[in-house]
Protein backbone atom coordinates (compact mmCIF):
# COMPACT_ATOMS: atom_id res chain seq x y z
CA UNK A 1 0.00 0.00 0.00
CA UNK A 2 1.27 3.40 -0.94
CA UNK A 3 0.88 5.90 1.83
CA UNK A 4 0.42 9.59 1.25
CA UNK A 5 0.58 12.57 3.54
CA UNK A 6 -1.71 15.34 2.45
CA UNK A 7 -0.38 18.75 3.40
CA UNK A 8 -2.59 20.87 1.18
CA UNK A 9 -6.18 20.91 -0.01
CA UNK A 10 -5.04 22.23 -3.36
CA UNK A 11 -5.02 18.83 -5.00
CA UNK A 12 -8.71 18.47 -4.19
CA UNK A 13 -10.77 19.45 -7.23
CA UNK A 14 -13.74 20.27 -5.04
CA UNK A 15 -11.78 22.80 -2.99
CA UNK A 16 -9.34 24.40 -5.41
CA UNK A 17 -9.51 26.76 -7.32
CA UNK A 18 -12.85 27.28 -5.66
CA UNK A 19 -15.17 25.37 -3.40
CA UNK A 20 -17.60 23.26 -5.36
CA UNK A 21 -19.40 21.38 -2.64
CA UNK A 22 -22.59 23.20 -1.70
CA UNK A 23 -25.36 23.21 -4.27
CA UNK A 24 -29.06 24.04 -4.18
CA UNK A 25 -29.76 22.11 -0.97
CA UNK A 26 -27.90 24.48 1.35
CA UNK A 27 -29.36 27.81 0.16
CA UNK A 28 -32.84 26.29 0.03
CA UNK A 29 -32.45 25.15 3.62
CA UNK A 30 -31.02 28.50 4.72
CA UNK A 31 -34.04 30.23 3.18
CA UNK A 32 -36.61 27.85 4.69
CA UNK A 33 -34.88 27.94 8.08
CA UNK A 34 -34.87 31.76 8.02
CA UNK A 35 -38.51 31.81 6.94
CA UNK A 36 -39.53 29.47 9.78
CA UNK A 37 -37.52 31.58 12.23
CA UNK A 38 -39.29 34.74 11.05
CA UNK A 39 -42.78 33.25 11.26
CA UNK A 40 -42.19 31.72 14.72
CA UNK A 41 -40.55 34.91 16.02
CA UNK A 42 -43.56 37.09 15.19
CA UNK A 43 -46.00 34.46 16.50
CA UNK A 44 -44.17 34.33 19.84
CA UNK A 45 -43.61 38.10 20.01
CA UNK A 46 -47.26 39.01 19.53
CA UNK A 47 -48.42 36.24 21.83
CA UNK A 48 -46.13 37.50 24.59
CA UNK A 49 -47.38 41.05 23.97
CA UNK A 50 -50.96 39.83 24.38
CA UNK A 51 -51.84 40.85 20.81
CA UNK A 52 -53.12 37.39 19.90
CA UNK A 53 -56.53 38.72 18.91
CA UNK A 54 -55.22 41.79 17.09
CA UNK A 55 -52.87 39.76 14.90
CA UNK A 56 -54.46 36.29 14.81
CA UNK A 57 -52.87 35.29 11.50
CA UNK A 58 -49.37 35.92 12.79
CA UNK A 59 -49.94 34.14 16.09
CA UNK A 60 -52.18 31.26 15.08
CA UNK A 61 -52.16 30.68 11.31
CA UNK A 62 -48.77 31.61 9.86
CA UNK A 63 -46.88 29.27 12.25
CA UNK A 64 -48.33 26.31 10.35
CA UNK A 65 -45.82 27.18 7.62
CA UNK A 66 -42.90 26.68 10.04
CA UNK A 67 -42.93 22.89 10.55
CA UNK A 68 -43.49 22.36 6.82
CA UNK A 69 -40.59 24.68 5.95
CA UNK A 70 -38.37 23.05 8.58
CA UNK A 71 -39.11 19.53 7.37
CA UNK A 72 -38.47 20.39 3.72
CA UNK A 73 -35.32 22.26 4.76
CA UNK A 74 -34.06 19.37 6.86
CA UNK A 75 -34.73 16.96 3.99
CA UNK A 76 -32.64 19.23 1.76
CA UNK A 77 -29.85 19.18 4.37
CA UNK A 78 -30.11 15.42 4.57
CA UNK A 79 -29.76 15.13 0.77
CA UNK A 80 -26.60 17.17 1.00
CA UNK A 81 -24.92 14.78 3.42
CA UNK A 82 -22.36 12.40 2.04
CA UNK A 83 -22.75 9.85 4.85
CA UNK A 84 -26.46 10.04 5.36
CA UNK A 85 -26.75 7.23 7.87
CA UNK A 86 -24.43 8.93 10.34
CA UNK A 87 -26.39 12.16 10.73
CA UNK A 88 -27.48 11.09 14.24
CA UNK A 89 -23.91 11.46 15.43
CA UNK A 90 -24.52 15.23 15.47
CA UNK A 91 -26.64 14.50 18.51
CA UNK A 92 -23.97 12.67 20.41
CA UNK A 93 -21.99 15.88 20.86
CA UNK A 94 -22.47 19.40 22.08
CA UNK A 95 -19.77 21.66 20.69
CA UNK A 96 -20.20 25.27 21.67
CA UNK A 97 -17.55 26.37 19.17
CA UNK A 98 -19.26 24.71 16.22
CA UNK A 99 -22.10 26.50 14.40
CA UNK A 100 -23.25 23.17 12.98
CA UNK A 101 -23.61 21.76 16.47
CA UNK A 102 -25.57 24.87 17.49
CA UNK A 103 -27.77 24.47 14.42
CA UNK A 104 -28.40 20.80 14.96
CA UNK A 105 -29.45 21.32 18.58
CA UNK A 106 -31.46 24.46 17.83
CA UNK A 107 -33.41 22.55 15.20
CA UNK A 108 -33.84 19.69 17.64
CA UNK A 109 -35.54 22.14 20.01
CA UNK A 110 -37.44 24.50 17.72
CA UNK A 111 -38.92 21.87 15.39
CA UNK A 112 -40.87 20.14 18.20
CA UNK A 113 -41.85 23.55 19.61
CA UNK A 114 -43.24 24.53 16.21
CA UNK A 115 -45.26 21.30 16.10
CA UNK A 116 -46.61 21.92 19.61
CA UNK A 117 -47.51 25.50 18.71
CA UNK A 118 -49.43 24.28 15.67
CA UNK A 119 -51.14 21.58 17.71
CA UNK A 120 -52.31 24.21 20.21
CA UNK A 121 -53.77 26.24 17.33
CA UNK A 122 -55.10 23.37 15.26
CA UNK A 123 -58.70 24.50 15.77
CA UNK A 124 -57.85 27.62 13.78
CA UNK A 125 -57.70 25.42 10.68
CA UNK A 126 -60.08 22.62 11.71
CA UNK A 127 -62.66 24.13 14.10
CA UNK A 128 -64.15 20.75 15.01
CA UNK A 129 -60.84 19.09 15.76
CA UNK A 130 -60.94 16.52 18.55
CA UNK A 131 -57.83 14.84 19.96
CA UNK A 132 -59.76 11.65 20.73
CA UNK A 133 -57.45 10.39 23.46
CA UNK A 134 -57.73 11.55 27.01
CA UNK A 135 -53.99 11.79 27.59
CA UNK A 136 -53.52 14.11 24.59
CA UNK A 137 -56.27 16.35 25.90
CA UNK A 138 -54.58 16.46 29.30
CA UNK A 139 -51.27 17.30 27.66
CA UNK A 140 -52.98 20.10 25.74
CA UNK A 141 -54.39 21.58 28.94
CA UNK A 142 -50.95 21.35 30.53
CA UNK A 143 -49.18 22.99 27.54
CA UNK A 144 -51.78 25.73 27.28
CA UNK A 145 -51.13 26.59 30.92
CA UNK A 146 -47.46 27.09 30.09
CA UNK A 147 -47.95 28.61 26.63
CA UNK A 148 -46.25 31.84 27.70
CA UNK A 149 -43.10 29.92 28.67
CA UNK A 150 -43.32 28.08 25.38
CA UNK A 151 -43.64 31.40 23.53
CA UNK A 152 -40.51 32.78 25.21
CA UNK A 153 -38.55 29.66 24.28
CA UNK A 154 -39.89 29.84 20.75
CA UNK A 155 -38.93 33.51 20.37
CA UNK A 156 -35.40 32.99 21.67
CA UNK A 157 -34.79 29.86 19.62
CA UNK A 158 -36.30 31.49 16.52
CA UNK A 159 -33.69 34.24 16.87
CA UNK A 160 -30.91 31.70 17.32
CA UNK A 161 -32.16 29.79 14.28
CA UNK A 162 -32.28 32.96 12.17
CA UNK A 163 -28.80 34.08 13.19
CA UNK A 164 -27.32 30.62 12.88
CA UNK A 165 -28.31 30.38 9.20
CA UNK A 166 -25.87 33.24 8.61
CA UNK A 167 -23.23 32.18 11.14
CA UNK A 168 -23.06 28.79 9.46
CA UNK A 169 -21.47 30.60 6.52
CA UNK A 170 -19.56 33.29 8.38
CA UNK A 171 -17.69 30.80 10.57
CA UNK A 172 -16.06 29.59 7.36
CA UNK A 173 -12.83 31.56 7.54
CA UNK A 174 -11.40 30.05 4.36
CA UNK A 175 -14.02 31.90 2.26
CA UNK A 176 -13.54 35.67 2.69
CA UNK A 177 -16.99 36.61 1.36
CA UNK A 178 -18.68 34.53 4.08
CA UNK A 179 -16.23 35.41 6.80
CA UNK A 180 -18.03 38.54 7.99
CA UNK A 181 -19.99 38.85 11.22
CA UNK A 182 -22.64 40.89 9.37
CA UNK A 183 -23.98 37.71 7.79
CA UNK A 184 -25.69 36.54 11.00
CA UNK A 185 -27.81 39.66 11.53
CA UNK A 186 -28.34 40.04 7.76
CA UNK A 187 -29.78 36.55 7.40
CA UNK A 188 -31.85 37.00 10.55
CA UNK A 189 -33.29 40.24 9.15
CA UNK A 190 -33.96 38.59 5.81
CA UNK A 191 -35.73 35.70 7.58
CA UNK A 192 -37.85 38.12 9.63
CA UNK A 193 -38.76 39.97 6.44
CA UNK A 194 -39.77 36.68 4.79
CA UNK A 195 -41.80 35.73 7.88
CA UNK A 196 -43.62 39.07 7.83
CA UNK A 197 -44.34 38.54 4.11
CA UNK A 198 -45.87 35.12 4.71
CA UNK A 199 -48.13 36.68 7.34
CA UNK A 200 -49.15 39.39 4.84
CA UNK A 201 -49.92 36.69 2.26
CA UNK A 202 -52.05 34.67 4.67
CA UNK A 203 -53.83 37.48 6.51
CA UNK A 204 -57.35 38.53 5.60
CA UNK A 205 -57.37 41.40 8.11
CA UNK A 206 -56.49 44.78 6.69
CA UNK A 207 -55.06 46.17 9.92
CA UNK A 208 -52.81 43.16 10.37
CA UNK A 209 -51.53 43.36 6.78
CA UNK A 210 -50.78 47.05 7.26
CA UNK A 211 -48.90 46.48 10.51
CA UNK A 212 -46.81 43.74 8.93
CA UNK A 213 -46.11 45.92 5.89
CA UNK A 214 -44.76 48.52 8.35
CA UNK A 215 -42.67 45.90 10.14
CA UNK A 216 -41.38 44.64 6.81
CA UNK A 217 -40.40 48.18 5.81
CA UNK A 218 -38.36 48.63 8.97
CA UNK A 219 -36.66 45.25 8.50
CA UNK A 220 -35.86 46.05 4.86
CA UNK A 221 -34.30 49.31 6.06
CA UNK A 222 -32.14 47.34 8.50
CA UNK A 223 -31.14 44.90 5.75
CA UNK A 224 -30.04 47.73 3.46
CA UNK A 225 -28.07 49.27 6.32
CA UNK A 226 -26.35 45.92 6.98
CA UNK A 227 -25.56 45.38 3.29
CA UNK A 228 -24.01 48.83 3.00
CA UNK A 229 -21.93 48.24 6.12
CA UNK A 230 -20.90 44.80 4.94
CA UNK A 231 -19.43 46.32 1.78
CA UNK A 232 -17.83 49.17 3.73
CA UNK A 233 -16.23 46.55 5.96
CA UNK A 234 -14.98 44.51 3.03
CA UNK A 235 -13.60 47.49 1.17
CA UNK A 236 -11.79 48.84 4.23
CA UNK A 237 -10.20 45.47 4.86
CA UNK A 238 -7.36 43.56 3.21
CA UNK A 239 -6.94 42.78 -0.47
CA UNK A 240 -8.62 39.41 0.07
CA UNK A 241 -11.84 40.99 1.33
CA UNK A 242 -11.72 43.72 -1.31
CA UNK A 243 -11.50 40.95 -3.87
CA UNK A 244 -14.45 39.12 -2.32
CA UNK A 245 -16.59 42.27 -2.39
CA UNK A 246 -15.52 42.67 -6.03
CA UNK A 247 -17.67 39.65 -6.89
CA UNK A 248 -20.66 41.93 -6.25
CA UNK A 249 -19.08 45.19 -7.38
CA UNK A 250 -18.38 44.57 -11.03
CA UNK A 251 -17.66 40.85 -10.76
CA UNK A 252 -19.77 37.96 -12.07
CA UNK A 253 -22.46 38.20 -9.36
CA UNK A 254 -23.01 41.96 -9.63
CA UNK A 255 -26.19 41.93 -11.70
CA UNK A 256 -27.77 38.99 -9.90
CA UNK A 257 -27.13 40.51 -6.48
CA UNK A 258 -28.09 44.13 -7.06
CA UNK A 259 -31.03 43.48 -9.39
CA UNK A 260 -32.62 40.38 -7.85
CA UNK A 261 -31.76 40.83 -4.19
CA UNK A 262 -31.51 44.58 -3.63
CA UNK A 263 -33.79 46.12 -6.27
CA UNK A 264 -36.47 43.45 -6.80
CA UNK A 265 -36.24 41.90 -3.33
CA UNK A 266 -35.88 44.99 -1.15
CA UNK A 267 -36.29 48.40 -2.83
CA UNK A 268 -39.29 47.58 -5.03
CA UNK A 269 -41.30 45.87 -2.25
CA UNK A 270 -40.39 48.77 0.04
CA UNK A 271 -41.75 51.25 -2.51
CA UNK A 272 -44.92 49.17 -2.94
CA UNK A 273 -45.38 48.91 0.83
CA UNK A 274 -44.94 52.66 1.26
CA UNK A 275 -47.55 53.20 -1.46
CA UNK A 276 -49.85 50.72 0.27
CA UNK A 277 -49.47 52.45 3.62
CA UNK A 278 -50.26 55.72 1.86
CA UNK A 279 -53.53 54.16 0.75
CA UNK A 280 -52.73 53.46 -2.87
CA UNK A 281 -54.43 50.34 -4.09
CA UNK A 282 -51.66 47.70 -4.29
CA UNK A 283 -52.33 43.96 -4.33
CA UNK A 284 -50.86 42.84 -1.00
CA UNK A 285 -49.35 39.72 -2.50
CA UNK A 286 -47.04 41.68 -4.83
CA UNK A 287 -44.53 43.06 -2.27
CA UNK A 288 -44.78 39.87 -0.20
CA UNK A 289 -43.88 37.58 -3.12
CA UNK A 290 -41.04 39.92 -4.11
CA UNK A 291 -39.60 39.83 -0.58
CA UNK A 292 -39.76 36.01 -0.51
CA UNK A 293 -38.07 35.88 -3.91
CA UNK A 294 -35.35 38.31 -2.79
CA UNK A 295 -34.80 36.37 0.41
CA UNK A 296 -34.34 33.11 -1.51
CA UNK A 297 -32.02 34.78 -4.03
CA UNK A 298 -29.92 36.28 -1.21
CA UNK A 299 -29.18 32.78 0.12
CA UNK A 300 -28.48 31.31 -3.31
CA UNK A 301 -26.20 34.13 -4.41
CA UNK A 302 -24.31 34.17 -1.13
CA UNK A 303 -23.76 30.43 -1.06
CA UNK A 304 -22.58 30.33 -4.68
CA UNK A 305 -20.51 33.53 -4.66
CA UNK A 306 -18.96 32.60 -1.31
CA UNK A 307 -17.65 29.36 -2.74
CA UNK A 308 -15.99 31.30 -5.54
CA UNK A 309 -14.39 33.84 -3.19
CA UNK A 310 -10.91 32.82 -2.12
CA UNK A 311 -7.62 33.79 -0.54
CA UNK A 312 -4.97 35.11 -2.89
CA UNK A 313 -2.29 32.56 -3.33
Amino acid sequence: MKEEIIVSGRMNQMIDPHLNIWHWEIPLYLFLGGLAAGVLFFAALFFINGKENTYPTAVRKAPFIAPIALIIGLLALFFDLRHKLYFWQLYTHIRLMSPMSWGAWTLMIITPISFIWCALNIRELFPKWDWNYEWIKETEVFLRKYQLVLAWAMMIYAMILGIYTGILLSAFNARPLWNTSILGPLFLASGLSAGASVTILMSKIKKERKRFAEIDLIVIGIELFLIIHMFMGFLASTEVQVDAAGLFLGGPYTMAFWIFVVILGMLLPAILEIMEIRKYHIPAFAPAILVLFGSLMLRFIFVYAGQVSRWLY
Binding site: M255, I259, L264, L268, I271, L272, M275, R278, K279, Y280, H281, I282, P283, A286
Partner: protein, 174 residues
Protein backbone atom coordinates in the same frame (compact mmCIF):
# COMPACT_ATOMS: atom_id res chain seq x y z
CA UNK B 1 -57.67 53.97 -2.41
CA UNK B 2 -56.40 57.47 -2.89
CA UNK B 3 -58.62 58.11 -5.88
CA UNK B 4 -61.63 56.11 -6.88
CA UNK B 5 -61.29 56.89 -10.58
CA UNK B 6 -58.02 56.14 -12.37
CA UNK B 7 -55.85 59.10 -13.28
CA UNK B 8 -56.01 60.22 -16.90
CA UNK B 9 -53.36 59.01 -19.32
CA UNK B 10 -50.77 61.65 -20.17
CA UNK B 11 -50.81 63.47 -23.47
CA UNK B 12 -49.52 61.05 -26.15
CA UNK B 13 -47.18 63.66 -27.65
CA UNK B 14 -45.64 64.27 -24.26
CA UNK B 15 -45.43 60.49 -23.82
CA UNK B 16 -43.59 60.26 -27.13
CA UNK B 17 -41.05 62.86 -26.03
CA UNK B 18 -40.54 61.00 -22.75
CA UNK B 19 -40.02 57.74 -24.65
CA UNK B 20 -37.43 59.51 -26.77
CA UNK B 21 -35.65 60.64 -23.63
CA UNK B 22 -35.74 57.07 -22.32
CA UNK B 23 -34.06 55.96 -25.54
CA UNK B 24 -31.46 58.70 -25.18
CA UNK B 25 -30.81 57.65 -21.59
CA UNK B 26 -30.54 53.99 -22.63
CA UNK B 27 -27.93 54.83 -25.25
CA UNK B 28 -26.07 56.97 -22.77
CA UNK B 29 -26.12 54.47 -19.88
CA UNK B 30 -25.92 51.06 -21.54
CA UNK B 31 -24.42 51.97 -24.90
CA UNK B 32 -27.35 50.26 -26.59
CA UNK B 33 -30.82 51.20 -27.72
CA UNK B 34 -34.10 49.83 -26.52
CA UNK B 35 -35.55 46.49 -27.57
CA UNK B 36 -38.31 44.07 -26.76
CA UNK B 37 -38.13 41.13 -29.14
CA UNK B 38 -34.45 40.56 -28.27
CA UNK B 39 -35.37 39.75 -24.68
CA UNK B 40 -37.94 37.21 -25.83
CA UNK B 41 -35.36 35.76 -28.20
CA UNK B 42 -32.92 35.39 -25.30
CA UNK B 43 -35.57 33.49 -23.35
CA UNK B 44 -36.37 31.28 -26.35
CA UNK B 45 -32.72 30.49 -27.07
CA UNK B 46 -32.05 29.73 -23.39
CA UNK B 47 -35.14 27.53 -23.09
CA UNK B 48 -34.35 25.58 -26.26
CA UNK B 49 -30.69 25.15 -25.29
CA UNK B 50 -31.65 23.92 -21.82
CA UNK B 51 -34.20 21.41 -23.03
CA UNK B 52 -32.45 20.23 -26.16
CA UNK B 53 -28.91 21.48 -26.84
CA UNK B 54 -28.85 19.54 -30.11
CA UNK B 55 -31.80 21.56 -31.43
CA UNK B 56 -29.81 24.75 -30.90
CA UNK B 57 -26.83 23.23 -32.69
CA UNK B 58 -28.89 22.28 -35.71
CA UNK B 59 -30.48 25.68 -36.17
CA UNK B 60 -28.32 28.53 -37.45
CA UNK B 61 -30.81 31.06 -36.17
CA UNK B 62 -30.44 29.87 -32.57
CA UNK B 63 -26.77 28.95 -32.81
CA UNK B 64 -25.59 32.34 -34.02
CA UNK B 65 -27.44 34.12 -31.25
CA UNK B 66 -25.88 31.86 -28.66
CA UNK B 67 -22.44 32.55 -30.12
CA UNK B 68 -22.99 36.30 -30.19
CA UNK B 69 -23.85 36.24 -26.48
CA UNK B 70 -21.01 34.46 -24.79
CA UNK B 71 -21.86 33.23 -21.32
CA UNK B 72 -25.61 33.18 -21.09
CA UNK B 73 -28.07 34.85 -23.48
CA UNK B 74 -30.03 35.79 -20.34
CA UNK B 75 -27.17 38.03 -19.21
CA UNK B 76 -28.28 40.54 -21.74
CA UNK B 77 -29.13 44.20 -21.34
CA UNK B 78 -32.47 43.67 -23.08
CA UNK B 79 -33.57 40.96 -20.64
CA UNK B 80 -32.96 43.27 -17.69
CA UNK B 81 -34.53 46.15 -19.58
CA UNK B 82 -37.69 44.09 -20.02
CA UNK B 83 -37.71 43.27 -16.29
CA UNK B 84 -37.51 47.01 -15.70
CA UNK B 85 -40.38 47.61 -18.12
CA UNK B 86 -42.58 45.20 -16.16
CA UNK B 87 -41.62 46.80 -12.84
CA UNK B 88 -42.05 50.33 -14.20
CA UNK B 89 -45.40 49.47 -15.77
CA UNK B 90 -46.59 47.96 -12.51
CA UNK B 91 -45.50 50.99 -10.48
CA UNK B 92 -47.03 53.49 -12.89
CA UNK B 93 -50.26 51.46 -12.97
CA UNK B 94 -50.35 51.43 -9.17
CA UNK B 95 -49.62 55.15 -8.99
CA UNK B 96 -52.43 55.93 -11.44
CA UNK B 97 -54.88 53.61 -9.63
CA UNK B 98 -55.22 51.38 -12.66
CA UNK B 99 -54.13 48.02 -11.26
CA UNK B 100 -56.72 45.34 -11.88
CA UNK B 101 -57.12 42.14 -13.83
CA UNK B 102 -59.08 42.67 -17.01
CA UNK B 103 -58.93 42.14 -20.75
CA UNK B 104 -59.36 45.37 -22.68
CA UNK B 105 -61.45 44.90 -25.78
CA UNK B 106 -64.18 46.43 -27.87
CA UNK B 107 -67.65 45.83 -26.41
CA UNK B 108 -68.58 44.12 -29.66
CA UNK B 109 -66.21 41.18 -29.25
CA UNK B 110 -65.62 38.73 -26.42
CA UNK B 111 -62.51 38.56 -24.23
CA UNK B 112 -61.81 35.18 -25.77
CA UNK B 113 -61.76 36.55 -29.29
CA UNK B 114 -59.61 39.45 -28.21
CA UNK B 115 -57.07 37.10 -26.61
CA UNK B 116 -56.98 34.79 -29.64
CA UNK B 117 -56.50 37.78 -31.98
CA UNK B 118 -53.79 39.21 -29.75
CA UNK B 119 -51.95 35.89 -29.63
CA UNK B 120 -52.12 35.41 -33.42
CA UNK B 121 -51.01 38.99 -33.98
CA UNK B 122 -48.18 38.46 -31.51
CA UNK B 123 -47.01 35.32 -33.29
CA UNK B 124 -47.03 37.09 -36.67
CA UNK B 125 -45.17 40.03 -35.20
CA UNK B 126 -42.64 37.68 -33.61
CA UNK B 127 -41.89 36.08 -36.97
CA UNK B 128 -41.80 39.45 -38.68
CA UNK B 129 -39.46 40.96 -36.13
CA UNK B 130 -36.98 38.13 -36.58
CA UNK B 131 -37.13 38.32 -40.40
CA UNK B 132 -36.72 42.10 -40.17
CA UNK B 133 -33.97 41.87 -37.54
CA UNK B 134 -35.83 43.77 -34.87
CA UNK B 135 -39.18 45.04 -33.67
CA UNK B 136 -40.69 48.49 -33.30
CA UNK B 137 -38.39 49.40 -30.43
CA UNK B 138 -35.21 47.55 -31.39
CA UNK B 139 -35.15 48.25 -35.08
CA UNK B 140 -37.48 51.13 -35.83
CA UNK B 141 -37.15 53.36 -32.76
CA UNK B 142 -33.53 52.70 -31.84
CA UNK B 143 -32.53 52.48 -35.50
CA UNK B 144 -34.07 55.80 -36.49
CA UNK B 145 -32.49 57.48 -33.50
CA UNK B 146 -29.07 56.73 -34.98
CA UNK B 147 -30.30 57.61 -38.50
CA UNK B 148 -30.09 54.03 -39.74
CA UNK B 149 -31.83 53.58 -43.10
CA UNK B 150 -33.05 50.16 -41.97
CA UNK B 151 -34.78 51.81 -39.03
CA UNK B 152 -36.76 54.14 -41.29
CA UNK B 153 -37.72 51.29 -43.62
CA UNK B 154 -38.83 49.13 -40.68
CA UNK B 155 -40.90 51.96 -39.25
CA UNK B 156 -42.60 52.58 -42.61
CA UNK B 157 -43.17 48.86 -43.16
CA UNK B 158 -44.67 48.27 -39.71
CA UNK B 159 -46.91 51.32 -39.60
CA UNK B 160 -47.66 51.29 -43.35
CA UNK B 161 -48.84 47.67 -43.23
CA UNK B 162 -50.87 48.33 -40.09
CA UNK B 163 -52.47 51.38 -41.73
CA UNK B 164 -53.23 49.45 -44.90
CA UNK B 165 -54.72 46.42 -43.20
CA UNK B 166 -56.57 48.22 -40.39
CA UNK B 167 -59.67 48.53 -42.59
CA UNK B 168 -60.16 44.76 -42.67
CA UNK B 169 -59.88 44.32 -38.91
CA UNK B 170 -61.64 47.48 -37.76
CA UNK B 171 -64.73 45.53 -36.63
CA UNK B 172 -62.67 44.13 -33.79
CA UNK B 173 -62.29 47.58 -32.31
CA UNK B 174 -65.17 49.85 -33.32
Amino acid sequence: MKEKTPKKYINPYLGGVLLGLVLLAANFISGRGLGASGAIKSCVVTAVTTISPSATESSDFLKEYGKAHAGSPMKNWLVFEMLGVIVGGFLSGAWAGRLNFKVEHSPKITSRKRLIMALSGGILFGFGSQLGRGCTSGSALSGMAVLSLGGFITMMAIFGTAFGLAYFFRKNWI
